[in-house]
Amino acid sequence: MSVTPLKTVGHPTQRIDAVKRVTGTATYTGDIQVPGMLYARVLRSPHAHARIRKIDTSKAQALPGVKAILTRENCDIVWSSGDTRNKRYLFNNPVRFAGDAVAAIAATDRHIAEEAMRQIEVDYEVLPFVLDPEDALKSDAFAIQPGGNLSPNAKGQHEPDIFRHGDIDRGLTTADRVFEDHYTSVHINNAQLEMRVSIAQWDGDKLTVYASTQGISNCRTDIAKDLQMPLEKVRVVCQFMGGGFGNKNQCHDFDLMAAMLSKSAGLPVKLEFTRKEDYVAVHGRWPTKQYYKIGVAKDGTLTGIQLRGYSGMGPYRKGAGGIAGVELYQCPNVETTIYPVYTNMAVSANLRGPAYPQGIFGIESLMDHIAYELKIDPLEFRLKNMTRKYHDELPFTSNGLEDCIRRGADAFEWKKRWHAAGVGAGPVKRGAGMAMGAFGSAVGRSSAVVKLDGSGKYHLHVGVTDVGTAAKTTMGLIAAEELGVPLEKIEVISGDTALCPYSVGESGSRTTTHTGYAVVQAAKDLKRQIAEKGLPQGSEVLTASVNADPAQPKDAARYSFAAHFAEVEVDTETGHVRVIKYVAAHDSGRIINPLTCASQVKGGATMGIGMALHEELLYDRQTGVPLTAGYYGARVMTHRDTPDVEVLFVETEGAYGPFGAKSIGESTIVPSVAAVGNAIFNAIGRRVKDLPITRDKVLGVLA
């Protein structure tokens, strides 16, 4: 299976801004200095749950250099994208997690702002708190939000999210064997390099926000909505951004705080987070508890899959809270029941493949276990049971999953590396594991503008910010291909709502398929204009502007697929796990830029290994306060922990995306956690069912 080669698209291409980024000349949001700018800090709750009886800001207010202080008493702005179910204010009372904002201070320098923070006196009435989602649903649990701790569904009903296909009772009662087990995952942070920062500047009734955002358009829309301003009065700028992995979608409370502090002080305000704040105060991946029952026939055919799952959302419903993965398997009888639950931990929402790596860890661990129990090679078991139709019903526009498994297995030398579980001699044992993954690849609304001037230069206006995916370069390559000109002829203008049309936002792995599609359409229109009017001369400019909103195919599902293979060494005397070989095979349709696409896969796999082995925002159960916020505590992967990741692309043919491209960014982390877990099982013959698979747990199952 392969795609027809193209001229510009499909060749490894260096990022158009690579030199700026690596030489330190790129201006990130934190680098921006506006004359007269104030510096802001946020006072946060030290308690997991408390009612504020009284806040006294008078001492802080009196400090020389303090220009504005916001609390709930003088600021009742609702941050609408911070909670899709309840009214979440910028400053909430009660405060519902350790790190919930209590006040924001702007001062002439950050040290004064910090000192003012310490001078604010808050009288807290400490309330009971709960960290575990199952505990939170017990009848005696203290309600964190009105209506109880089961977060309501989109219809406002306090019911779990249920998916049913076929007849699960039949699926389990007709099975030859039923396997029952449970798996857990923990809260981890996005850990993106660039910390949260926002600079707000007013010019009369016009507001400019220099943000660190994954989507300038969404950020702008949300700011305008929450501050009740006309959209045209708000400008959002983000020329270079330093990563987000899903926690810089939309606007954030700190954007709104900067704007309100600036309005109150009459001066521009920069609000920056510390690394610790970044870990506790924004959001991370939702922790889960997953209880499975899986029925199989003697020959290994699946007859039923049942999942009851609990997702800890923190005290605000910012994320969807799903547990994905069951749909990777072809099965006639499926039932999943997911409870998104309020807890007093840090908020949980999008982190690269939001519902996937933790769900895949559960289902792919148990499927692995079943294969061993049935004495079937886990790889053959996947090939036998992998999805051929979405939810057993809808065909896929293209499905390269089988190719990912087969070609990945060849590159990995699966037959040579995989063996019966735990049979290695000596204290250091090797093992091989694999897992499958998928991620949605929709097409949808976005926009692009392409101009050609009299000098022969093309100008591509796209509202991307480039979260690390090389989106600016990708958009340039797509335009160059469609226009039939070299990439160097195209100037990409991005990251400023004053200069760029709407873009979908770099979330959901949608930029290439959504905005890329609009770029193709705009380029087509420009070519048509050139054919009609001829090339522009002198000061003439031809402009093609497209607002694309392509329809999803109704009769087919559109997904990217992946299979990851890991080999580990487990030292059974020290519990040390090292990943020594890693192969990632991906079907993302046509690859626009193999260089940056491979970087995405390497980054996703590395993140997944960290999630499998190290990372956790660990909480003190006595106080509800997190203990491991930051890169040191959370044990984020270092270069020395990272194996070489071998990347393979299975380029399936498929319509809809630009030149047949599907999504990539998020699918890269999806199978990685489970692949590492399965490799550890293969090495030692024991399974750790609770993430992360740390030394204490490895030595624990071996004891």
Binding site: G575, D620, Q622, V625, R695, D696, G700, A703
Partner: protein
Amino acid sequence: MKTFTNANPKDIREAITLLSRGNASIVGGGSDLLGMVKERLMSPDVLVNLKSIRGLDKVETQSGKMKIGGLITLDALSHDAQIRKNYAVLAEAAESVGTPQIRNAGTLAGNVCQRPWCWYYRNGFPCLKNGGDKCFSASGENQLHAIFGGGPSYIVHPSDTAPALVALDAEFHVSGPSGDRVIPVGQFFQLPRVDAARENVLAPDDVLVAITLPAARPGVRSTYHKVLDREAWTHAVVSVAMVLEMDKQICRSARIVLGGVAPIPWRLPKVEAMLAGQRITPELAAKAGEAAIVGARPLAKNKYKVPLTQNVVKRTLLSLA
């Protein structure tokens, strides 16, 4: 960060005078100290910058002994040819600290005197180390805490170089308001049952100026083995500093010191005694591992450290045989 004054003393006496005035802290490399000031774990009015004093980072031989200035960076220490050759355990320990950036800035004395990395302490809980009256780890998250010598505080000593220095039988040269003194390494570190707020005997106006190592002896083999939860930038989960004086295949004497398992570098005198005069065989190493964990009192969540310690002692011994 709280505002402070940076003082640049010209000599040790001036440094001590500045420290004696109260609410002052020594800054050497500053790699940890500045973070602690930012986190408000300490709020000194004055930082006494020892880098302004010349000659505190020298390595010199004095009547056979090796004298190392406290201000030597961990990087320089790990690359010093004489130390690598004759005191490998110290060079390896220095090389295992943190990251290259930390080793370029961090000093030997700073590493020895480093405050604990217990997550309760570092997160500002009102614990014994932060002026409170309770150790939160005792009934809390104690995965990384002490299995030896704990109570009332269960921190583990964070230094890599400290176990190496105990294993090498070093002497600590300390200057204070009442003059200079030499403290044998065995008397430098202090258990929490003596004073739970501190990890060593230094007073706030004492300066650890230099460390002396005994003269190099033929037949000495030494090494530092550190178990990390990731490959860089973590403190030891368990570490072993081991110095063996060998006569061909026979171990004449041994000094074995554990890191990461106790509030101070934890010496294993019984294991040392059982090795003296013996040939190091896999059987003996296994017995040494077993003996190393006698008396361990793990907490609820760090039981794994017991077999880990056993195995690391066994392996480190075999690696030197």
